[in-house]
Symmetry: C2
Amino acid sequence: MKLNEIGFVRGGYTTRKEAPRQGFHDDRLFTLEIKEEYKQAALEIKVGDLIQVVYFANEADRTALRTKPPKKEGKYGVFSTRSPHRPNPINICIARVEEVNDNIMVSGLDALDGSPIIDIKGYSQRLHDNLIAKYAIK
Amino acid sequence: MKLNEIGFVRGGYTTRKEAPRQGFHDDRLFTLEIKEEYKQAALEIKVGDLIQVVYFANEADRTALRTKPPKKEGKYGVFSTRSPHRPNPINICIARVEEVNDNIMVSGLDALDGSPIIDIKGYSQRLHDNLIAKYAIK
């Protein structure tokens, strides 16, 4: 499968070490710079929206299959974890739109500077709550 | 960016029309068939876990930039929606693990049969709640 980035994250962390474990632990502002040819797909994104940002972690180790999670003993398969190191290093963050001008400014990412953006999706907390409620009943 | 599927969804819907709008609206059981070379990355996935399944919607229209959401008037940019039709048709579902044998059986997907699986991540409801709580305060 071949993906073409729809834009790039600007103002991201310069090193993995600098990035927080979870994007929302930090108030940093990131710019989602959308390529000209995709801008009409982002026109309705507005301040206050929660969006799901999907980006490519191009510095990740794609050979990683087992990893030691920060707060656990021993190694776990990467598919049980949220480690950025995995065969297809696609990271998914829920971000909050803080400002919209020619680009989109968000908080809540954990991306390195220049990370290619793969996709942006609307996010509905209500839908999510319905899903979790259904699973909780089981 | 080039992705190599880590496996395939078996037992999925045969047509897009048959698929529910949200995976959790249906109790269908899907099999995540993980390729041999990636199985050690999935060893700790167990019954009852919530996981985030990332798959490729290979029948999607990748030229779609504007779309009419089912319950809304007029067209919206696809990056404000969760339409499967988008430049990089990566779908993300939270699924529940129902059975584990040589493969992993889950509910909660909305995938067509044979969809390539790109990634699986652990999912923490607690982390999610912390994130939403932080955004709600703003």
